[in-house]
Amino acid sequence: MKELISSVKKDYLLGLALQGKRVDGRALDQYREVSVERGVIGTAQGSALVKLGNTQVMVGVKLQKGEPFPDTPTSGILVVNAELLPLASPTFEPGPPNEDAIELARVVDRAIRESQMIDLEKLCIKEGEEVWAVFIDIYVLDHDGNLIDASVLASVAALYDVKPPVSEEWTLPEFPVSKKPVAVTVVKLNGVMMVDACLEEENIAEARLTISTLEDGSICAMQKGGSGFFEREELEKAYELARKCGEELRKKL
């Protein structure tokens, strides 16, 4: 189901964008109020609740024993799943993950996997037979735009919240995480680039670009979405925004 926008509202937002203004008065490179709360779910090994303005995303991390993939016999497994819960938006319907939920899960997966923030090799129990599997479950509770950035932030926070499982097979002193990838999604509205789109902005944006960066400014994952396009110079601008805003977001972890 699509969101309903009147042309009157759309024209107003596009007009504001040309003036470098946004509907809630924010600057183009300004995020809404961000809060990160860790350890919210006791039944998960690690968990976090992130609020980005009115958007709320909860992530639970569970560790389970499993079989490694045949081509990586000494490597732990990472599985990322996302649920766009019907309670989060009138446009989300119950059912198996649709393409939006799948894209969200895969984008978060790449940000975490490609950054190598989890040392999967340390999660081996018995080579070729048993390894630790890390399940990251993203639960979108309230959708007011920018689910990707909120989901990556919540997932990284939840991973840092992981308390090692009580099990003989766990031999490490702690859960092997390092580095903090942060995703920043830039949307293009009437040719103007801005970060952290709220729902209204997201619904009329021509295109979006998510760039995940690490502390050293290197890029570990990217994803363009939406049916519009970006110019080369706009990519440079997006990277600058991602690096700058990424630093600010990282402080919340």
Binding site: L4, I5, S6, S7, V8, K9, K10, Y12
Partner: protein, 226 residues
């Protein structure tokens, strides 16, 4: 006898009155007693007991002025979203003010998906099909202005008793407002700063609709900005 006072906050199932009282909006009768059916503030006018809901969806009634958004075109007109469980229907002949030959004319020139329309509810039939009219002056496609959407339950506060709040909003800022009972409000004004002030004031009214003295506070706030 009455079990509650005026402007008292009640929840569903609260016993309001026993005996010969009339059950107004937001209430129901069980075993001859009047109970609240919603979360809201009691309103007692002589023998009439009502509860004014603080939340709730818009249900179309004949004569209501509404702002709809076109979601679909069909052979004889358009379907409009009314921010309600029930959609509105606007016939092309109604908008054009004359008979329309739908095979010759492209009615999307008149109105298309996404357009906002100021209309009146002409009729609601027993199957809850809503017919809209734009016959009166000033109604029709909205071409310019700022659209704000609030909870329909709070709209009466934006209008105020005998239009008092609406008067203040318009006179202190020089803007003109068209209030849709379905929670959509159109603001037109030459000065964008003044239009912003009205938007802020409306959102404040929405947040504080259940408090008293609101009219004075809004007046003071808007006059202070002159």
């Amino acid at each position: 006898m009455l079990f509650v006072g005026n402007r008292e906050l009640v929840v569903p199932g609260k016993l309001l009155a026993d005996g010969d009282y009339f059950a107004g909006e937001g209430t129901f009768i069980e075993d001859g007693k009047v109970f609240s059916s919603v979360v809201g503030l009691t309103e007692i006018r002589e023998k009439n007991v009502s509860v004014i809901s603080l939340q709730g969806r818009y249900i179309p009634r004949r004569g209501d002025r509404v702002i709809g958004i076109v979601t679909d075109t069909h052979p004889y007109g358009w379907t409009l979203d009314l921010n309600s469980p029930y959609t509105g229907n606007l016939m092309a002949s109604e908008l054009a003010g004359r008979k329309v030959d739908v095979f010759r004319e492209d009615i999307s020139k008149l109105l298309k998906t996404g357009d906002a329309v100021l209309a009146e509810v002409k009729e609601v039939d027993e199957r809850w099909r809503v017919q809209l009219s734009v016959g009166e002056r000033g109604l029709g496609k909205i071409r310019e202005g700022r659209l704000v959407e609030i909870s329909p339950a709070k709209v009466p506060r934006v209008i105020g008793r005998k239009g008092s709040m609406l008067k203040i909003l318009q006179e202190t800022t020089g803007c003109r407002l068209e209030v849709g009972l379905n929670g959509r409000i159109l603001i037109r004004g030459k000065d964008p700063a003044k239009v912003n002030e009205v938007v802020e004031a409306i959102l404040l009214i929405e947040r504080e609709a259940h408090l008293s003295g609101l009219t004075d506070r809004i007046k003071a706030r808007l006059e202070g900005k002159k």
